[in-house]
Symmetry: C3
Subunit: 423 residues, 3 copies
Amino acid sequence: MLKKEDNEKLCRTNSGTPMGEVFRSYWIPALLTEEVPEADCPPVRLKLLGEELVAFRDSEGKVAILDAYCPHRRAHLFWGRNEECGIRCVYHGWKFDQAGNCVDMPNEPDNSKFKHRVKLTSYPTWEKSGIIWTYMGKGEQPSYPDFEWLRAPDTHFQVSKTYEGCNWLQALEGGIDTSHSSFAHNNNIQDKKSMRSRATNPKLEVDKTDYGFRYVGIRDLKDDGNYIRAYQFIMPAQQMRGQMIKWHDGSREDYPTVRGHIWVPIDDESVWVWNFKYTSEPSIPLDPKFSLEQEILFGRGPDDVLPGYRLKRNPSNDYLIDRELQRTKTFTGIKGVNTQDYALQETMEKPFIDRTKERLGTADLAIIAARQMLLEAIRDLEEGRQPKGVNPETYRNVRACDRFLPKGIDWREGLAEDMQAKF
Amino acid sequence: MLKKEDNEKLCRTNSGTPMGEVFRSYWIPALLTEEVPEADCPPVRLKLLGEELVAFRDSEGKVAILDAYCPHRRAHLFWGRNEECGIRCVYHGWKFDQAGNCVDMPNEPDNSKFKHRVKLTSYPTWEKSGIIWTYMGKGEQPSYPDFEWLRAPDTHFQVSKTYEGCNWLQALEGGIDTSHSSFAHNNNIQDKKSMRSRATNPKLEVDKTDYGFRYVGIRDLKDDGNYIRAYQFIMPAQQMRGQMIKWHDGSREDYPTVRGHIWVPIDDESVWVWNFKYTSEPSIPLDPKFSLEQEILFGRGPDDVLPGYRLKRNPSNDYLIDRELQRTKTFTGIKGVNTQDYALQETMEKPFIDRTKERLGTADLAIIAARQMLLEAIRDLEEGRQPKGVNPETYRNVRACDRFLPKGIDWREGLAEDMQAKF
Amino acid sequence: MLKKEDNEKLCRTNSGTPMGEVFRSYWIPALLTEEVPEADCPPVRLKLLGEELVAFRDSEGKVAILDAYCPHRRAHLFWGRNEECGIRCVYHGWKFDQAGNCVDMPNEPDNSKFKHRVKLTSYPTWEKSGIIWTYMGKGEQPSYPDFEWLRAPDTHFQVSKTYEGCNWLQALEGGIDTSHSSFAHNNNIQDKKSMRSRATNPKLEVDKTDYGFRYVGIRDLKDDGNYIRAYQFIMPAQQMRGQMIKWHDGSREDYPTVRGHIWVPIDDESVWVWNFKYTSEPSIPLDPKFSLEQEILFGRGPDDVLPGYRLKRNPSNDYLIDRELQRTKTFTGIKGVNTQDYALQETMEKPFIDRTKERLGTADLAIIAARQMLLEAIRDLEEGRQPKGVNPETYRNVRACDRFLPKGIDWREGLAEDMQAKF
């Protein structure tokens, strides 16, 4: 239930669009470190917010993100030679450094000054925790991101990315939606005692903040109190959630992690989904075996992924849905928690869903809040204000969690300490 | 030789188009029974007249056809769970019965009345002779179809469907075209005595009726009299023809069947071709071996068809045309009578042929009549009249045949009895 | 650095476009003789300048090029029967001769005169040196092409064609670009003494002529004088260049050939690249082994080509780029001299490059001249003048060459004789 023009505004992120300008106000994840693993390695193609780009790690280890097309005659720099602090176009040998300066033009006369007048669009990068971040805006660079998880040591942190073939907003909306986990992600429909089955209609509460909002889904477990799942939504496209989980060898009652996603539009019909997790206790490192098991559970284990960070289970094979499994065991018949999300989101209307036809309920409060906040950011920018969450001070001390609370205790109080960063 | 605007009018059938509204005035075939074989079986995707739909057979055996997208947040109901008289969306568990009522909304508060205000577009269905029919109009449901072949018992009747990748009208026009069988379907060019070779220019006569028109192709066999092939065109998109054929074991001189097609637009560039046949004598059941041989002859035997009722011989492999076979034996070099049609029709201009460039002759009288009648149906609807052939009384007693007649006997007289239904 | 409207004008060649009309003023290569090798062989599909066509060699050996769609009901004539001096549509048997006349209409009454009023668009053809040429214009046919290479005997000449998936103009611009060979085609980056490495910034000089222009790239080899590569640009889309090369068995110091390309638009996003070479000395035939080696070197040997004259190394496999090879041996890491060009040109912006964003230098003088000349041809046509190079008298005596010249000798003088045809 969104006006057609607001839906268009929120979904489209190419250069010059309102939401595109919002995204260009923030540092966003661009690449995994592993994609440009070492100095002078081959350049890679990259598309972000509808822009064709090329990235390379120069001889000094600095990652450059440049317009994909050589300004001379528009050859793609993916074919380029990454050599001595610059990428050299293989068409005529023009060379550009990481700042986009043309530093060599060997097919022009030796004394030519032409190269000093040629510059290629270049976006600044910052590398942290295995992620190469970029800022694609025209204005002054904001401070670097300072999410708690970027301060967690590598021993406590894990990150991956996945391609999803749908508009970024329907991916994000799925990610901040809490009630669907009782359905789409119910992988044991026979177990009527599971958390998912016991309270399928969590009560949502949303508190707006300077970085976005925090919100909870409260599941009423009757005599057992409440199960509270507390999320953070950090502008423009980050979800953070807590996830207690039994330790895989049974040696602990729970193994609390904080997890989340960032959604970065590739273009209007596809999105990079960034997936991170870290242990919420500085004293407990992230067990690699547990981490791998979780990646597999979520559908992105080593056997689940094709080149280009695409999933083997995808629209071309109906996500290998198993109708018998669906009948007897899992709600969807599709393996992989996030694969279940992708199956739902990638097969919606193209290029993006018609939100004028939606029927939203009380379970959609967080989604409604996110849309309001994104529209507010568009207005902020148009009226010359900095959008929420650009300044890291606004979010650096927050985190998410999930907990059981006795009835009668407000989560704002009961979870106050658990929602404070410890790293 | 059709005006551009009339060509557009006839070819496009999405919701809101003139021809789309005509199609939505009739019951049309939607699915084979075999696609939803039993109660609570998996749902199937379905696209008709440009609309994305989902179908399922509910616990009581009733087939439902619904809008494909859950009205909540637009997930595709193909992924849904078909359970206890309704389909449950796997995103948030909303459940819809076969009439499109929301009967459960488990992620909303227990006492919520929201579900009573949510409804999904649903089209009525009717199942007969292995076919699930639907009515996609907004007005009052017309009476159920009552073609003779729907009254023939299962022992006398056979039906199949095939995907064809072209606009519905060029498929229909090929189907009501009688002279092309002397060329496209001449599978023995050496045999100069065959019916096809003896008179390649049948004289056409068209009689308009309340349900469409009946027409004949008269082949002048000189001293042997005339060979008359009498067709029915039943609005909006059915062809019915007679087909004498020698019994496969030689035990009979002829084995008369009535056959036909219905063309149902999937979208403007593809169409479902429904193929039916039945024995024209109530005393003679349809021999399964003969029926299978005929399906193979027409190019849709078990070895000819891919999943989704698509043909193995298709544009991607040039229909496996055999130029040597074409040179020496068959007119086209392509196997399968209807595959020959598809090769011709699927490789015409996209999205549909430019009929302003045609040069029609006397052999095209039936096609011209069909276009006139379809344009008339558009006007009928626009002016508030029921189009021809909606009322089954208009066509229930007609059938088609082919016969030899002595010269001088008018077919209207000579075939009068043979063109009367016997079932 | 071209105005947007001029870029559109130059790139688009469908019927009715300004550049389309320019192309339709010349004879252009349509097919290789090998594609329709003998009388009455199967017809072939053909697309030129955005027009869907069909070609066949009739019983008398004459090649016909016709509109692809039968004027009756628009079936594709590719399926047709090539028989007794005409192609017969397999839908209803209408038959057309090579001039597009309807010579048989067997589904119409015996005495019908209808066929005399039906005609199919037909383009004249002329066959020479293994190439079938066509003239797609509406005006009077110009004289047949008379390039020197068409006069070279078959023993001295070789021709091939290749599909390239980009707009014709970026292919042509690559072809008349001389400085890129020091980069894209440098297949031995270690060899600092090679011609390519010794002078990467040739000085360009362009002389406009009545057929287009001739131009040179002058490489300053210091004490060794100059290396001059002299090209011809013959309107509308032919490049001709000289290429000295050491004889493959070492028995000669050089083995001079003249080579070139013609680019013929298939549609706005793809182009046929015609590749020809001939020995520049009438006394020396073209050695087949040498010729084959050169085809392999250029990336179109027997093992490099797929059906339809497409390359195995193509965008779907990143041209099998070998980054290690690129690091250590060749500038691009891609095998095949012209494959290197295709990799660069096929991966530029779609449907064609945005030339308003280019930064052209002195190395691009020939490209600038070609654009001016093509725009001039558009104006010529619009104002009723014959474009340059339509009349073979203007170019019949020219050829290209490459030579070493001592300093101080102007190439116009030093190469005067070498740039004169000898055949």
